[in-house]
């Protein structure tokens, strides 16, 4: 039973929609994000929806030292954590930044390094408690490098690979590691995209993640059909793939 939840990137639409489901179960929340005012909006919303406790703390993803502090603060404020949910990220415009070294490093730090940093302190925390769940939002974009999106994609690919190993390592300690791979979701992150058939609503994605975490799935494609799509994309031989405009 997941009762006490720490969330990094709590103002992401997917995170919010996941948390609404937990609020119905009267869970307690420790919400971390960049913007305290937005966190406050989420906090009130979750409380209205039935959350027991909900506290907020501002922390930038690149503020490495603060990662473990926020987890300790969460433990002190809402009690021993059952779930650490890492949901932050940015979607850079690949073509615009691909030759900008500093920009690429920054995007990689936000979407990969900071996630691994948080997972490191999260595993340390749960290992000391002997149980817990780490759930991380990666992306289907991490399944294969494509010319249109390979900076974001490789960062997410790094996250997915890291989580594979972490899951393997923590399995015998009874700690669950869940890799969530959303496809295209109609959120502020994708607001400049033309919305096609494959776009899912944040509410349905949030609900599927909620269910996936609760049953303890290892890898969760949301919506599920992305598993098939990415399976096909991954099966294309590299000699052909490199010529495709994907």
């Amino acid at each position: 039973m997941i009762k006490n939840i720490y969330v990094f990137g709590a103002t992401s639409k997917i995170a919010e929609e996941t948390l609404k489901n937990y609020a119905k179960d009267n869970a307690n929340f420790y919400l971390v994000g960049r913007d305290i005012h937005k966190l406050e909006i989420v906090r009130k919303d979750l409380l209205a929806r039935g959350a027991g406790k909900a506290e907020v703390e501002a922390c930038d993803a690149l503020d490495w030292e603060k990662h473990s502090i926020t987890i300790n603060n969460a433990d002190k404020t809402i009690g021993q954590l059952d779930l650490i949910y890492i949901a932050h990220g940015t979607l850079p415009e690949n073509e615009g930044i691909r030759n900008n070294q500093m920009k690429v490093i920054e995007e990689f730090n936000i979407n990969c390094t900071s996630v691994i940093s948080l997972c490191t302190v999260a595993s340390e925390y749960f290992e000391s408690k002997g149980k817990g769940t780490i759930a991380v939002i990666s992306s289907v974009a991490g399944e294969r490098g494509r010319q249109s999106n390979f900076i974001y994609g490789s960062a997410k690919g790094g996250v997915s690979k890291y989580l594979e190993g972490l899951r393997n390592r923590l399995f015998e300690k009874g700690i669950k590691v869940i890799t969530i791979k959303p496809g295209m979701v109609d959120t502020p992150m994708t607001k400049d995209f033309k919305k096609g058939l494959l776009f899912a609503s944040p509410a349905s994605v949030g609900k599927q993640i909620y269910k996936g975490i609760n049953v303890g799935r290892d890898v969760l494609f949301v919506p599920g059909y992305w598993k098939l799509i990415m399976g096909i994309i991954k099966s294309i031989p590299e000699s052909i793939f490199k010529k495709l405009k994907l």
Partner: protein
């Protein structure tokens, strides 16, 4: 075509904004430049151009969908304006609460419900949605947020309810829910022979039931002109629901998407499905969705009208002379042969609408869809408007794409008063058409 998703529900007129802004958070609004010609856009479910702003700016409010406060004891809820009625229902119904007033679709935003001062099947007993609002937070282009209630900034409050989004950015809305015992409805369906029979039935039903509405046949001539089915209902009690489930019925899977629908409600819906026998009177216990939102279950029904779209036309006629003029209008419609998919007849009650530009007033209202066939369709509607105008009726802006400026000013004598409270930087295609 850029921004082609930003049309109205009936896809007519086809006019597009110059730009669309999509704020993700209420706190970002301070940074939005409320320059000339802006309009909020919710889910685009109005029919016509009240939600359109040709060559102007639209602000898409769909990310502003948070609940700010909810009191389970009093049933007062405060939300951001981009939340849909569907989201509110999913949240409040399991807690034993319901919307005080709801239109025929739950896919509209709260802000849209306020801006059009929507009405529903319970107008004769509960008035419009606006009658249940306790506070509106309105951001104007002077960058000041006004907390408006019946007592504070009361003129701005009255102008904003039914104000077609022209008084500023509706940030939040607080309103009073009603309590319900079950998510089911007790419904009686009664066939009636013609328009006169409707009037008799309506007089009786209004006294007995909080919710009434009729589907009317707009294709039959002669003695049976205006025949239809009268549907009257109320929220079902626990004992009625329990009793109804002891009856035997078959299980039929039915596509109902709302997440809080369970096997129980599906079963009940099947019952509705099976018992649609055409006896003169049938009584049923049904879930609230098929009762209030039958068309929400048919995804994309509006596309059946083809690429030219359709027009919706809703007028109200005060009771004086109403029978006679309604007959006259039915003659026009039936003889035109431009029959309609959906024709809804209902009475509005005494409760005064709180908005300066609110549409409902005491009398009989008729809402009809017309396939858009160019001049022919427009001429018929102009003819009907003339009859409505002569008889001191009015037309619903939320469902209009073509009424004349002259008619609008006759229907809405408060318009000059309203203009005092309109935000100078907010505008819409509808506004520029009728001002």
């Amino acid at each position: 075509m850029e921004f082609e998703n930003y049309l109205s529900f009936n896809k007519y007129p086809k006019i597009l904004p110059k730009e669309v802004l999509i704020p993700s958070w209420l706190t970002e609004l301070d940074r939005i430049d409320l320059r000339n010609s802006i309009l909020c856009y919710g889910k685009g479910k109005s029919y016509g151009d009240v939600c359109l702003n040709e060559d102007g700016t639209l602000i898409d409010t769909s990310n502003l969908n948070h609940i700010i406060d909810f009191n389970n004891k009093t049933g007062i809820i405060k939300c951001e304006s981009g939340i849909t009625l569907k989201e509110i229902l999913e949240f409040v119904v399991p807690k034993g609460w319901f919307l005080p007033v709801t239109p025929g679709t739950k896919f509209i935003t709260l802000g849209g419900a306020v801006a059009n001062d929507v009405h529903g099947k319970n107008h004769h007993s509960a008035g419009t949605f606006g009658s249940h609002i306790t506070e509106i937070e309105l951001l104007r282009s002077d960058k000041v947020t006004y907390k408006c209630t019946k007592d504070v900034h009361s003129e701005l409050f009255a102008a904003t309810i039914g104000g077609l989004g022209l008084t500023g950015f509706i940030k939040t809305v607080e309103f009073q829910l009603i309590s319900i015992e079950t998510p089911f409805m007790y419904v009686e369906n009664i066939k009636f022979e013609n328009l006169d029979a409707f009037f008799d039935l309506n007089e009786e039903s209004e006294k007995l039931f909080p919710y009434t509405v009729s589907w009317v046949d707009c294709t039959t001539k002669g003695k049976k002109m205006g025949k239809g089915i009268y549907m009257r209902g109320r929220h079902a009690t626990k004992s009625e629901v329990n009793k109804s489930f002891e009856m035997k019925d078959g299980a039929l899977p039915f596509p109902i998407e709302a997440s809080f629908i369970n096997n129980l409600t599906v079963k009940a819906f099947n019952k509705l499905f099976y018992s649609k026998q055409f006896s003169k009177l049938s009584t049923q216990i049904v879930p609230f969705e098929p009762y209030f939102y039958p068309l929400d279950m048919i995804d994309g029904w509006e596309k059946a009208y083809g690429k030219n779209g359709f027009l919706q036309h809703q007028f109200v006629l005060p009771y004086d002379n109403c029978k006679k003029s309604l007959h006259q209008i039915f003659h026009e419609i039936v003889n035109s042969g431009m029959s309609s998919f959906l024709t809804v007849l209902k009475s509005f009650g005494e409760v005064d609408s709180p908005g300066m530009l609110s549409f409902p007033k005491k009398g009989i209202t008729l809402a009809i869809d017309y396939r858009m066939e160019g001049e022919k369709t427009l001429k018929l509607l102009d003819k009907i408007d003339d009859i409505v105008a002569v008889n001191n009726g009015s037309l619903y802006p939320g469902k209009d794409a073509r009424m004349s400026r002259e008619h609008f000013h006759k229907f809405y004598p408060n318009f000059q008063e309203f203009l005092k409270y309109k935000d100078p930087n907010f505008s819409s295609s509808f506004y520029r058409r009728i001002k």
